[in-house]
């Protein structure tokens, strides 16, 4: 058996509030190249049916922390796409 790194990774994408309503789901596994960044996760979602309802650059979080656009993602990460925050 080869011990080579897998060529792709799978992350769990979470949607909330207005974004979850627009897409009709709250959680989706997404498989991407191992070199993927947060921006690639959003690009993948925006290519899905109805994906053009997501803004080009929504707020994102990776593993419960706000994440920059170019932050790399890893196998098993939880990537959340956050609508405009309205707490407080």
């Amino acid at each position: 058996m080869s011990a080579a790194a897998p060529p792709s990774i799978t992350v769990r994408v979470l949607l909330f509030a207005s974004y979850a309503e627009r897409f009709g789901f709250e959680s989706l596994p997404v498989t991407l190249p191992a070199s993927a960044r947060v921006a690639d996760v959003v690009a993948h979602l925006r290519a899905l049916p109805g994906g053009d309802q997501l803004p080009p650059k929504p707020l994102c979080a990776r593993n419960l922390s706000h994440a920059g656009w170019s932050e790399p993602v890893s196998e098993g990460d939880e990537i959340a796409i956050l609508p405009p925050l309205a707490g407080g």
Partner: protein, 141 residues
Amino acid sequence: MAYLTSAPIDVAALVSAVQAPERGGIATFIGLVRNHHGGRDVLRLDYSAYGPMAEAECGRILAEAQTRWPVAVALQHRVGGLEIGDAAVAIAVGSAHRDDAFAACRYVIEEVKRRVPIWKRESYADGTVSWVDPTAALQHA
């Protein structure tokens, strides 16, 4: 104590949590559900959250405030259905002197609004509902 709660916020409990013999002042901020938004009559609203991240982010904000000022901070934010006048968020900050308490209290509410993943859906008197987008509101403020 969890930062998010679906039960009414007990402000007195937050004040007690930051009370200590060496602290001479406690500043509080209470955010209430308002009956109007953008010129529309609001009847009630629902807060939803990305719970695990909201808890983590609140913890980080309180740790930052307590590193930056010599204060103790307690915070709770409601989730679920709220009526007009209900407390949506409450913060209590205790410190030796008032300047630090006011400054840290202001920091915490501003960072909560900016960073904690919580969303608000308002129900209006005309029967419509909508997710509140504070970034859109800024454009006609």
